[in-house]
Symmetry: C2
Subunit: 250 residues, 2 copies
Amino acid sequence: MNTENLTVLKIGGAVVEDEPSLDRLVRDFAAIPGPKVLVHGGGRSATALAGQLGVETRMVEGRRVTDDEMLRIVTMVYGGLVNKNIVARLQAAGVNALGMTGADMDIIRSHRRPLRNGIDYGWVGDVERADGQRLATLIHEGTTPVIAPLTHDGQGHLLNTNADTMAQTVACALASRFRVTLRFAFEKRGVMRDANDPKSFIPHITEQDFLRLRDEGVVYGGMLPKLENALQAIRSGVAEVRIGETRITA
Amino acid sequence: MNTENLTVLKIGGAVVEDEPSLDRLVRDFAAIPGPKVLVHGGGRSATALAGQLGVETRMVEGRRVTDDEMLRIVTMVYGGLVNKNIVARLQAAGVNALGMTGADMDIIRSHRRPLRNGIDYGWVGDVERADGQRLATLIHEGTTPVIAPLTHDGQGHLLNTNADTMAQTVACALASRFRVTLRFAFEKRGVMRDANDPKSFIPHITEQDFLRLRDEGVVYGGMLPKLENALQAIRSGVAEVRIGETRITA
């Protein structure tokens, strides 16, 4: 029985990309008690830099097609600009942050995504595993990993990787060592029966609830993979997942 | 008496900025026996990106004036592009690399450089200290720090920092725990009596030799601060400094 609580917080790109919301994030994250891990995005900044450099951003089903030039851009933006600015601010807030990609200390390994329906996503990684042992050692030494959405294939190539998946993989890899809460910061209050009615907010979802909500058509579209990911984390030993204020448990 | 050897290797920007020399670096660095630390530059790539973005690069006495826009650029290039590509390649070569700036784990703290002769260098850091204890812990756990030339001031600001100085500071901070060799990779064979005559190469320099060479005018210009830095490292307990193949000892 793991009694030490640990929080894995995933934040989207929008949160880290303007000064006031970045300040708020740093304050809120620093206030989370106990050991913690931050996983961040940065897509909007990458798209903005690509635009400045005259590189076209191509998205397929919400995923960024990553050719050589786009890989350079996301490596600069995710691994450098966004990651190091968060680290410097967390240090100022008293959090001993360590910025990492999956390549650093080999903490998250992936492989290049194979063609899907004829689509070549380029340098995009599908996650294989996170090294819970190394992450736990860092955390026990008082370090707070701050993870950018880049991994590597062990052959010397960096790979652009979905931050939600990385957060889930990290949470699962730590679940045998801590009582893990995985939190997805969310622009809405949480999961809702009616996206336009804040009063329809659903505070708590179990796997059985999910199956019912799915069959009723309440949960659909982009929320389906999010909740399926969340339930996958629960089945892998994560104690609780939160999407905004909605709690997902076994 | 510290008997475990450790190498701190400083490499300039040119080495990491084309594929063949980066491959050679990774191979050579991976082959260094025992614990080691890599400190890299990246100035040429930063200047190239600045050019693509229409940002003017201004150098004063060999140092990059770093306004807000240039800080974004060096954070992307040094902390992201150069650092993470080296890390991914070292991982493929079996070296458990961890890319870091001075902000990560608070390993190197600096303060913003005050005005000098009326020149405002902007977000440029003068190094205060390196945390030898934290670096030694990582190294003893089998990690190889790969350090980008960025530090922080503890107030949430990243600072563009001279990589030679960072390498020297790291070497000194580790000198009480290891027998440290500090190596500056160098485009020439080493220190020479006559820059145009390879046969005038000087294989070994002590502090007394340095004073004589300086008085004779053999060592001058940009080589003076390099050798003064090297001797400072020796006085701080570093066992040996190498500039190319020239050994500098007490």
